[in-house]
């Protein structure tokens, strides 16, 4: 496999609804930004791009098959190759890795990955029904198919098993909302408190409206290149690029029905010992085995043996405050069971922001500096690529340029991890990006 670089990225402003555009021109906003940011003209890009990969999650939300083909057509990339990637909430993360594969394999020198979702075309509760179709329609959906309910069951087990509290969950929401206050791409830009989270409407006990991400319309794009592709882009634009390098990719899976997941032994990361987890039945429904597998594979490829000290920031899939806590454990930022304390310690907060609370260890490893899904929104097929775009800008040191506000720039960021997640942990991807210039 050869080296793969991220050259550029773009994101449409995530919104509750975009009735002003159909999905294709919404993707074009992200695509045009991607080209413009590196000074590529439309026709130059057409000459250089060997092919594309598209992600959108739901045929039900779009009510249009072949949305990938239609977008590729609208972007003017016919007759070059394209395919669609789908895997529930992890659709965008899987698309990122499909773009990486296309270049790493030698098939393409330059590949554009773009993703989108239009979730505003049905009401919120019908939307929840569509999403719940990503659970077993014989055994799970008919019992009361509702993803917030599924994740709530996981967190009551996490709370019982490890003593995690609702205030610790709420702190994740406080962190991500307050971060997003400085991110102009975010759908929700509000400063909130633990009380705001607990006093907002209960959705599925103990998760409230502010513990849960919202539905969005939005799009994101990432331009990948091999070293040869990078040379070609630099020649065409006459500019030195500021690429990031993809140094690790990992993904994993688990049984679609939570009920089917085993109660066995923990999959260990290099810095963990078997004795750390005596008596813990794993993953059960409190942890995401797929997230651990994805992390293990990505870390191995990137040579990471001590994640909290070797990664500078993480953009992870916080569809729920609880799943951020569970994911910090899967990714080995803390041990299994310590996710609640990890948040309460302040470690995943930005070091330079005032959240209205005092933390003993604020800012060790910022998690979701962008505001994550909870505040940015979650247009499913775009989400995993949005994380890659924000990570790319962090590693370039260009947050100020793109956000018009330097607050969320992680200082001297050399290496970041992005994490995409589907179906109570059915699919998870982890990719490692490093400063490449």
């Amino acid at each position: 496999m050869r080296d793969v670089f991220v050259v550029s990225g773009g994101v449409s402003k995530f919104a509750k609804a975009r009735p002003d555009k159909t999905f294709q021109p919404m993707v074009k906003e992200a695509y045009d930004y991607t080209l413009k940011d590196v000074g590529l003209e439309f026709k130059q890009a057409y000459e250089l791009i060997d092919g594309s990969v598209t992600s959108y999650f739901s045929d039900h939300f779009l009510r249009q098959l072949m949305g990938g083909a239609m977008t590729t057509d609208y972007l003017g990339l016919c007759p070059k190759p394209n395919k669609r990637i789908e895997g529930g909430g992890a659709t965008g993360g899987l698309c990122f890795q499909a773009g990486w594969e296309a270049v790493a394999s030698g098939r393409f020198d330059v590949c554009i990955a773009y993703g989108f979702e239009t979730m505003s075309h049905v009401n919120t509760w019908k939307g929840n029904e569509f999403i719940a179709l990503a659970s077993d329609v014989s055994f799970d959906y008919p019992v009361g198919g509702f993803y917030s309910g599924y994740y709530a069951m996981m967190v009551t087990r996490h709370m019982k098993e490890f003593g995690t509290t609702v205030e610790q969950l709420a702190l994740v929401s406080v962190k991500n909302h307050n971060n997003a206050f400085h991110n102009p791409y975010a759908q929700k830009r509000r400063k909130i408190t633990i009380e705001d989270v607990r006093n907002s409407e209960m959705v599925a006990w103990p998760l409230t409206m502010l513990d849960i991400c919202v539905m969005s319309d939005g799009a994101a794009a990432i331009l990948f290149a091999s070293q040869e592709g990078l040379n070609k882009i630099e020649k065409a634009t006459g500019k030195r690029m500021k690429p990031t390098k993809v140094t690790g990719v990992g993904s994993g899976m688990d049984a679609m029905r939570m009920a089917d997941r085993p109660h066995g032994e923990v999959i260990l990361l290099p810095h963990e010992k078997k004795s750390d987890y005596k008596g813990l039945k794993y993953p059960g429904v409190h942890s995401f085995r797929s997230g651990r597998m994805a992390s293990k594979l990505a870390y191995k490829m990137a040579g990471i043996t001590d994640p909290i000290n070797q990664i500078d920031f993480v953009e992870l899939h916080d569809a729920y405050t609880s799943s951020e806590i569970q994911t910090c454990e899967d990714m080995g930022l803390c041990k299994y069971g310590e996710g609640g304390d990890f948040v309460a310690s302040g470690k995943p907060f930005m070091p330079n922001l005032d959240y209205g609370y005092k933390f003993p260890k604020q800012g060790v490893i910022p998690v979701n500096p962008s505001g994550g899904l909870i505040a940015c929104g979650h247009p499913v097929g775009a989400t995993g690529l949005m994380q890659a775009v924000f990570a790319h800008w962090q590693l370039q040191g260009t947050i100020n340029k793109h956000f018009g506000d330097p607050t969320l720039q992680v200082k001297n960021a050399k290496r970041g991890a992005i994490h995409s997640h589907a179906g109570t942990g059915t699919y998870v991807t982890v990719s490692i990006m490093e400063k490449g210039f």
Partner: protein, 177 residues
Amino acid sequence: MAESKKNFKLPETDDGTVVFNVPFPKDLSQLKGMAPIIIKQPYHIDYIHSFGQDSPFFAGLANGKLLSTHCKECNYTYGTPRLHCMYCGNECDWVELPKEGKIHCFTVCHYGSEEFLKETPFILILVEFPKVNTLFLGRLLGVDTKKASLDWIGKKVKAQFKRNSKFKPTDVYFVLA
């Protein structure tokens, strides 16, 4: 606060108005400033779903039996049936699950997917059965949905069955034992 503001909003509904024409400018260059036309498109289907190899489970429910599968090779009993064992790939046998189990975890859904909104608040639980390796998803009835508590975890529950089967997994539900 956004929540209190929300209480004063008229609900958004999906019913629309029949419109047969819209204003149109004389000057075509003004068209790009036009508001989007948003219409309602019905999207209803009846889908023919076969439970296939899982059909015995639903036949069991109709006859007051909670069935699942057991792999002889692995001595592994699934709490929710699957015909083929995920550890050896062999075909499992149908067995009857115990009528009583314990709450492994739960939630109270105050909202839900559109199909289930009218049933809120309802309780979802994953049930663990003695000597069964995996869990079963069901509804819990007969406890106060306003008093959700982690103390519910570990409580004993027993299966009850609907007299008139709907051939859905909710033909079985749970109450405190």
